[in-house]
Symmetry: C2
């Protein structure tokens, strides 16, 4: 899933009250020296990892990527790391017991998005260092920011702490999957393995290393994310003998049904006449309204991201129903959607062609908000279509997961705030990412754990050509690789301290 | 437009009553000898014409094709032939006055459908002679059957009559267009030229040479054709600032309208919930029901074309509403349609992609029956959408024309019947082609002329790779090139005789 981090929402400091300061990281100078000494080796490690792309959709380097991930964990000091088979791509489970009171969960992805080298300015698997104007030196490669760069920085952090002769302030439980880019299709199987589940259950929460720093050095705390479920509706010769097997001459529509019309009729029932309000039976039953605190955070963020700039970035002149900006943002963060990603039927070239299509497909996606679940949404869709007699409309769910939500006063989030306060990093809080990540695996009923993203580093181009991760920053307010590593070091100590405060 | 001739409807003799026999063509032996002597030159002429493809959609050989057509007419004995400019591709107008009592109109097309040489077994512009199993020797090339083969055979017929020292039994008025394959976009301009209109107005009707012989040698008489209008509906950033200019991240659908939903909502209003009955306001106002004679012809044709065979050919198991076969055929010939040719929006590759499309397009087409007109249909569509507030749905009409209809007792049709009776050619009559050709240009209110297709020859693959036209037939019941030429010779005499009978 894309859109993990909205670049738009990270800008400046939000007023926040009564965050206790955290202590200075012990032996910080020494650890920083170790990080500096290991800089070249760390950068080389990122480059080597980029050279081995795992792409689940293409079955590329799937066992090889898992074995590589296993070795990375062992090299970083995890005492055990094992490959967990699934019905799809295998995952990796690793633990590092430092004898600490607090256990922290970690979620990694070792797969990357597809890429077309022809669209890149440098070879996507070479991890070249390229100067970015006004930013510094960045490594360019597929997976640089999504997610190998931040993950490599995290591994470098725990290596540096240990190499400095210290034990980690927290125990670690790592789960790494190789199917994040195909909607984490089998990740629930990994977490259901008793050994994995029991290890995670001891943690105070799970986080994924990320690159959340804006151009000005500001950070964003996100308190959850919408869920996303992708599915396709198909009608045609393959679903009913009412329709032809292939495109045939269009004159036959006078006596033969057209699957494109049937698809239109089915789609039409899924949203209201306004063209956006979901109309699936019972859709809003479990949708929780925004809290006053969430509304306040949204209003504050609106001030940080001028409306005109947002409209220009998105290429639109108006929001849904011509709503004012803050209303549109409340909608953005709070409303579950039924979106058409694509339509494909019959002739799609220039002008027209006299065919009756043999097949019509709509690609759709739900975005779900608390307390909706994936199973609920899919069941409601199927019941909705069945009730209206659309037996010839085939529903294929290709992946997805429910929403996740983490309390603002959880240890994971308190540690982020405390760290930003101490270091004077400007930050904003968004109540929910309108994009999606599979935090629900940790967040959902099985484990009920906080799940968040953290990383004071910078990069861009996820899912696009010339993906990059900043290595040497030319702006003191923005972290390069070594500073990003130190932010993870500080975060681990902050988590340990905040966890102690909860006791 | 495609589907000019339905291969399914030509099978065997329909009982027909009291057709007076026509006389033997005078000097037939001598003319046939001339045709035989000119065989190689005629086949070479067809091959040369195939080598110069005019493709209006690609602006390929548009003036060159018109000049070539002009020269073909002059070479065939037309006393004058001139190029008629239009706002699109030029047409050709030619006349041959033989001092006869009767004038016959001719409609030619000199353009051909696009082609991809990679899909062909022999180069599409070389006109190679290839053996077709069980049929004989055929010329393969783009335009071979649609329509250069039949047209070359017709020109050969009038050359042979003249070369045999005879005057043609009818005067000829030829109009040839170069935009048939793009729905005759400017052909009405040609017929509106006073000189052309006045010349055509003197004719007893207009016919287009065609290859209408079935595998068993049977012929089909068609008494008209549906009209066809192609149009596209587009919604997106280009039609309203409610929609993004390009595909953007799908999470934004929570606050930004999706043009694909809007398109679905507009489309949904165009047909009833059954997915096929047109629901455009006033759509059926001018639709004439089938006559008893038309129903009888349909029932007879149903017997000639077994239902199981038709279903297999079309790849379907059922007709609309599970109707019985004859009912479905009545629908086929009598009902105007609103067809979706294609849908195209957003992501159309494998699986899903989290985008909100910047553009959504539906390609549609009307098929019209008497007494509907193109202008009526387009006006009603626009009024229908406007009434429902779809101002952001852009309608582009890319071409089309209304239906045509020719009386069974017109000279053109009587001459066909009389000829088939005399020669013992089995034939069937279909009341209307469910496909389309621009006969309405002649048939409509301006000229009110009968308009039909005629040609006792065989070919196939129109609009497809390996298009062919039979040159040497291995079956005595099926015409090769020379026999096709003689059928045109006989037809001209039959037309003259039948016209005399009308006086």
């Amino acid at each position: 899933m894309t859109g993990r981090l909205s670049g738009a929402m990270m800008a400046a400091l939000l007023a926040s009250s009564a965050i206790p300061a955290v202590a200075e990281t012990p032996d910080r100078e020494r650890i920083a020296g170790t990080v500096e000494a290991q800089h070249d080796a760390n950068v080389a490690a990122l480059r080597d990892w980029i050279a081995l792309p795992t792409i689940a959709a293409e079955k590329l380097n799937t066992p090889a990527g898992a074995e590589y991930m296993q070795q990375l964990a062992l090299d970083a000091g995890f005492q055990q790391a094992k490959i967990i088979p699934t019905d799809g791509v295998p995952a990796v489970f690793a633990t590092l017991d430092s004898g600490a009171d607090t256990t922290l969960g970690l979620y990694f992805m070792y797969d990357v998005k597809q890429f077309d080298p022809a669209e890149w300015n440098s070879p996507p698997l070479e991890g070249r260092l390229v100067e970015r104007e006004g930013e510094g030196l960045a490594m360019v490669g597929r997976g640089a920011v999504n997610q190998k760069g931040p993950e490599t920085a995290f591994l470098a952090a725990i290596k540096a702490i240990q190499a400095s002769g210290r034990k980690l302030p927290v125990n670690l439980v790592l789960v790494a999957e190789g199917e994040e880019e195909v909607a984490s299709t089998h990740f629930d199987q990994v977490v259901a393995v008793p050994e994995v589940r029991d290890a995670l259950a001891k943690s105070i929460g799970v986080f994924i290393p990320s690159a959340a720093q804006g151009e000005d050095g500001s950070a964003t705390i996100t308190l959850g994310a919408k869920g996303a479920v992708e599915f396709q509706l198909v009608v045609g010769g393959e679903t009913s003998d009412k329709y032809p097997q292939t495109d045939i001459h269009s004159s036959n529509h006078a006596r033969i049904e057209n699957p494109a019309w049937r698809l239109v009729k089915a789609l039409d029932t899924l949203v209201a006449d306004d063209g956006h309000t979901p109309a699936i039976d019972g859709w809003f039953e479990n949708v929780r309204p925004l809290t006053e605190r969430q509304k306040m955070l949204i209003a504050q963020n609106a001030e940080l991201n001028p409306e005109a700039q947002e409209k220009e970035r998105l290429g639109v002149g108006r929001w849904i129903d011509d709503e004012p900006y803050v209303t549109s943002l409340e909608r953005f963060y709070s409303q579950p959607t039924v979106n058409i990603q694509g339509l494909n039927a019959g002739y799609t070239g220039q002008g027209g062609k006299t065919v009756l299509p043999g097949r019509a497909e709509a690609k759709l996606e739900f975005r779900l908000v608390p307390a909706m679940t994936k199973d609920e949404a899919v069941s409601k869709l199927k019941a909705h279509l069945a009730k209206r007699g659309f037996d010839d409309v085939q529903v294929t769910v290709s992946g997805g997961y429910g929403p996740n939500e983490t309390e603002e006063d959880s240890t994971l989030i308190r540690a982020q705030k405390a760290l930003f306060e101490k270091d004077g990093v400007p930050y904003s809080i968004i109540p929910r990412n309108a994009g999606s990540w599979p935090g629900v695996i940790f967040n959902g009923p099985q484990l009920n754990l906080p799940a968040s993203q953290f990383g004071l580093s910078r990069g861009g181009g996820a899912h696009a050509p010339n993906e990059w991760f900043l290595i040497e920053s030319s702006d003191p307010a923005v972290n390069g690789f070594d500073e990003a590593v130190m932010a993870y070091v500080d975060y681990l100590y902050a988590v340990a301290e905040e966890a102690g405060r909860s006791d």
